[in-house]
Every structure is written in C-alpha cells, then in structure tokens.
C-alpha cells in the first residue's frame, strides 16, 4: 500500500464533502450523548481545509500537506475534536516530514503515531466508545494487509454497542449503549476517504 501527497490531498477534499453530507447526522448524535456541536464543528473545520487545499495545489511532500491540514483543524474545528483531529495530522506531518510517498512501514508508522497521539491527547484507550475504536481496527488491518473497509465498519458497529467512558458522552453512562458515537462516525468518514487514497 502506498500513499502519495496528491492522493492524500484529494482524499481530504473528498472527506470535506462527506463531513458536509453528514453534518446534521453528526450533530444529532452529539445532541443525544454530548453537546450537539460535532457536525457543525467538523463541517467548519473541513470546509476550512478545503479552502486551503483549493488555494494551494502543490505540496512538497506529505509532511507539508499534513502540517497545513493539522494547523487548520486545530484553529477551526473547536470542541475536543479540534485538538484530536489536529493531533492526527500534526503526527502525520512529523512522521512524514520530507516524504513524498509513504509505503510499507513508513505508511503504517504515520498511522500508528497518529493513534498514539489521540490516545495521549484524549487520555483514552480502545473500548471507551470513541474515535479510537475505529482507528485501532483500521490500523490493525493496514498492518496485516486485511480488508480496510470491513475494519472500519466493524469498529464503528462495535463502538455503537458499548458504553462511553471518556469524553462528554461518559456523563450519559448506560444511555450511550446503542447510540453511535459521533466522533467514531466522523472518523469512519475520514478513514473511508483515506482508504480510497491507498493504492498498491
């Protein structure tokens, strides 16, 4: 599997459209088990990313592109998702500094660093009904060359069944079982686009 700078840029433009399509759904879910701003936040952040990427088409490498995306998300998303999604791309930027195309171990390590970054930032682990429950199976499938789509769907479905123990949703306790975590859903939207960008 290989990720090129241009394919990552395209994937992010597509992810911005997906966030827009699912804006109301993300916000409604967050209204059930949170503060009702997730769709609005993700839409604002990814529209800002889209604007940056439409203004600049050529990036030297994955690092330069990821850094711009990370800083844009940090500045514009808000909520807890700003620092979390921002951290993902800042970690990509650090790992892929000067790297035009990532493949093999270099590709996996970018995703692993990003996952470690969100675990540290959110002081959370797998099984707490967060975005981590989608990122973890995705990365496992990437490492084992498994089915990425299936991994995303399974992670998303499993996270729906369990109880939230981190973030705002954790205050809702048992009532979170059976409700889709909005952060897990927005992560699945992003990862589905990143998956499309990966080629042999």
């Amino acid at each position: 599997m290989k990720l090129t700078t241009n394919d990552l840029r395209t994937a992010l433009l597509n992810a911005a459209d997906k966030m827009e399509e699912h804006k109301d759904e993300l916000t409604d879910l967050d209204r059930e088990i949170g503060d009702g701003d997730h769709g609005i936040n993700m839409s604002r952040g990814f529209q800002a990313v889209k604007k940056e990427l439409e203004a600049k088409q050529d990036f030297a490498d994955l690092g330069e592109l990821s850094k711009l995306v990370g800083m844009t998300l940090i500045k514009t998303v808000g909520g807890a998702s700003g620092p979390l999604y921002g951290t993902i791309f800042v970690k990509f930027a650090n790992t892929w500094k000067g790297v035009g195309e990532a493949e093999g171990d270099a590709l996996v390590s970018g995703f692993e660093e990003a996952l470690e970054g969100i675990k540290t930032r959110g002081k959370a682990d797998a099984g707490e009904k967060t975005m981590i429950d989608v990122w973890t199976p995705f990365i496992n499938a990437l490492k084992s060359e498994g089915d990425l789509s299936h991994a995303i769907d399974e992670g998303l479905a499993h996270s729906k069944t369990i109880m939230a123990t981190k973030g705002r949703a954790s205050y809702f306790g048992e009532a979170t079982k059976g409700v889709q975590d909005p952060g897990a859903l927005s992560s699945s939207l992003l990862l589905n686009e990143l998956k499309e960008a990966l080629h042999d």
């Binding site: 503060d35 701003d37 940090i74 909520g79």
Partner: protein, 122 residues
C-alpha cells in the same frame, strides 16, 4: 509573581472565578482563556496562546473539562516562548484558590505545583 491562566468553556464561569480569587489574592495576575468569540461556550487554542503572550512571569494553567485540558496541552506543545508555563490537572475552583494564594505569597512555580498535587492528587 506566578501568573494563573484559567481555561474554561464559559467566559462567565472564568470571570466569576477570577472575582472570587481576587478576594483571596488581589495581587496575583490572573489571565482568562475562556469561552468563544460572541460569548459562545467552548475552548479555543488561539485564546490560550493569546494568554501566553500576555503573561508577566512564569505561569500555571488550570482548566475545567475535556477540551479545555486538551487545548491547554496542545497550546503548551506549540509554545515556543521562553517562559516556564505548566499545566496541572486539578479542580479549577479549588485548585485556583490554592494557586492564587500561594502565588500571592511569592511561591515558585515548583512550590505551587507541589502543593496542588499534595492537596488534590492523594
């Protein structure tokens, strides 16, 4: 004198807390990074960075919940200035009280953090 930076989702909450702390420690510099533009609830890494730019000495950050803490830690990672700024994860109101009083007494950042951890991380 060690500055306190209060990071809260609510501007009103932070303003109210500042009033409260003023009664105990009138001299301690207190900066707020609270709420969003137009009075909305939320935390913003930009406001924390702005506070970093306005401190008059080393500083201690206290936060309320969730994204306040995440944004504070993120702002610290991005900070390139030469002040010693640190975050300690203790209750905002009670921790703020102790920190404001100790700063007013001229205690160092290390001394304040040690006292906060002894009080709240038993």
């Amino acid at each position: 004198m060690i500055n306190l930076i209060l990071v809260s989702h609510s501007g009103k909450l932070a303003e109210g807390l500042k009033d409260l702390l003023r009664e105990m420690a009138a001299e301690t510099p207190i900066l707020l990074a609270a709420g969003l533009a137009d009075g909305k609830i939320g935390t913003d890494v930009g406001r924390i960075e702005q506070a970093f730019g306005n401190i008059s000495d080393d500083a201690l950050i206290l936060t309320d919940i969730g994204s306040a803490t995440m944004n504070a830690e993120l702002a610290l990672e991005l900070y390139a200035g030469d002040r010693d700024i640190r975050f300690v994860d203790v209750p905002l109101v009670e921790g703020g009280f102790l920190a404001a009083v100790l700063s007013g007494q001229g205690k160092s950042l290390d001394e304040i953090i040690t006292a906060l951890e002894a009080e709240f991380k038993k």
